[in-house]
Symmetry: C2
Subunit: 336 residues, 2 copies
């Protein structure tokens, strides 16, 4: 396999870097950014005069909906994979996910010319399964419970020898997601605050770390749906409390924080702002209609959180991370 020229090129770079085993340092994030640069887009930052007037502050949208596979997850997945030693990659990559991390890991494996195995609940939308297949990932279906997902994955890893890459409870993944905010504050060094959505917390943790290292005057806020508000509850109670029966249109935010992301968010995030479904839908429509870009509901949660607190940010300069653009358009009727 090392005869493949692409893979051989990579081996050189990878040799220098190893998986991140504790809270990513400033250098870890800088090195991660260099490492993944060939596999990601530097996404554009857009703004809208109409939205600025409506909200009463200057808002800058970091558009990860234009990222490869349509979401920021490409950053973390490629950082984690590229840091693994070449010999341990030979049997491929594996994960359980019904969403964007699945597609990101499948594309990363494709880039590295190795197999990928994705455990998905049988209930996952057809479009998500098709994305994984499109990138050459092998789907292993299981019943839609966390226990079944973990058990199926464990069996799979034993059987295939593939490397498991957790969607967020992994410091290399967090270090990769941190590059979104790094790009944002490098282009806009004087942001008063950044809002990012929070599900498992990989993006929010990374965002908070990058603000801390690269733009210490920028406060970081998490936006969370009321129907899946475990981050808000965990921070309030001071301990990790997973969400039971989450329900929200923001299908990327149904997961709960992990130990790693809980501690990072506790240390570096100013506040978790909870938002109702109505506000999420309103924020999503605003962005579709006014900016003419497609974002998924999870992305709209960050803007919804800012809208909830807009009086506190009057006249400020705010970054919003639009995490992805993978909407299931089957739910819409398109006809004459």
């Amino acid at each position: 396999m090392l005869k493949n020229p692409f893979f051989a090129d990579m081996a050189d770079t990878r040799k220098k870097l190893v998986p991140i085993e504790s809270v990513p340092t400033k250098t870890d994030i800088e090195q991660s950014h260099e490492l993944i640069a060939p596999y990601i887009h530097k996404t554009p930052i857009l703004s809208s005069r109409y939205l600025n007037e409506l909200i009463g502050c200057e808002v800058f949208f970091k558009c990860e909906n234009f990222q490869k596979i349509g979401a920021f997850k490409m950053r973390g997945a490629s950082n984690a994979a590229l840091r693994l030693p070449a010999e341990s990659l030979q049997n491929g990559l594996a994960t359980h996910s019904s969403g964007n991390h699945a597609a990101a890991l499948a594309l990363t494996a494709k880039n590295l010319k190795i197999p990928s195995y994705i455990v998905m609940p049988s209930s996952a939308p057809k479009i998500k399964k098709e994305a994984v297949k499109h990138y050459g990932g092998q789907i292993i279906e299981c019943i839609p419970t966390l226990e079944a997902r973990e058990a199926t994955l464990n069996e799979l890893v034993i059987k295939t020898g593939a490397q498991f890459v957790h969607p967020f409870d992994n410091y290399s993944v967090i270090g990769g997601q941190a590059t979104v905010a790094k790009e944002l504050v490098e282009e806009l060094p004087d942001l008063d605050a950044i809002f990012a959505p929070v599900g498992g917390g990989g993006l929010l943790s990374g965002t908070a770390l990058s603000a801390h290292y690269f733009s210490s005057g920028t406060a970081v806020y998490g936006g969370e749906p009321l129907g899946a508000n475990d981050a808000w509850e965990s921070l309030n109670k001071g301990q990790l409390i997973p969400v039971k029966n989450p329900k929200t249109i923001a299908d990327g935010l149904l997961t709960s924080l992990s130990t790693k992301t809980f501690h990072l968010i506790k240390s570096h995030v100013r506040e978790i702002v909870v938002t109702e479904e109505k506000m999420i839908v309103y924020a999503m429509r605003l962005i579709w209609e006014r900016m003419k870009i497609l974002i998924e509901p999870s992305s709209a949660v960050a803007l919804a959180a800012l809208l909830n607190k807009k009086t506190a940010f009057k006249g400020k300069k705010i970054g919003i991370i639009l995490s992805g653009g993978n909407v299931d358009l089957d739910q819409f009727k398109f006809s004459a």
Copy 2:
């Protein structure tokens, strides 16, 4: 009124240019571009590896969905208004339109701090009326027939003294729309072909003129819905044949060619490619899903036309004009 600093500044520029009274020359289009530059965006050109692979050629999308008011119409409306003598503008601008030209004329009038009067059929979608109101336009409703629209407009012009700006049968408007393709070929001088949608024909005429003047090796094709195929029929029969009872999801393309646009298209457009509704919807979804940008159905007609003829363009370099992004999202259900 001339005391307004914005308006006074403009008077200088406007003095030099007059309405374009015959087929726009190369110089007319160059001067139009300079004249309108402060009032328009230079829109981005995007591409998608996935779509290139699917279609089998290199496709470059000129994104007028990101234009001010969400459509290319801002170019023609501002060119026409800015070329009128200051004294004749004092009573404002008027038009009949249920679509993007209405919003473009209202915003142009707002920029010039003069009133605008828009005759709209009572059946026009709420969202279109709101856009006009948002830019300060006064809406005059009439029953939804072409006769009623024209009669209401005539009365209005007599009563107010406002200047009528036709949405496409106007050489200044055509000269403004020509700046879309001018920007496209300036950035990509070696396009084999450009596809643009055709309704009244202002955009397609202007596109054909700009290709002719600025990139003579680039052929221009029009995409037209089968349910409103008057351009195709008129070119085939060699005479202007207006469409009766047009029906298509591409609501910007319901109008028929005018004398001016018919003659320009006859002289400079290679072919009108007719497309069925199914292909328009498919093309629109492709762009939404793969490029994560919102376009209106009329914009999708150009890609649909290319898809119909893709074997003829294998390996070629093609420009597609995405005319606008004003979709009525009320037709979609957004909920958890």
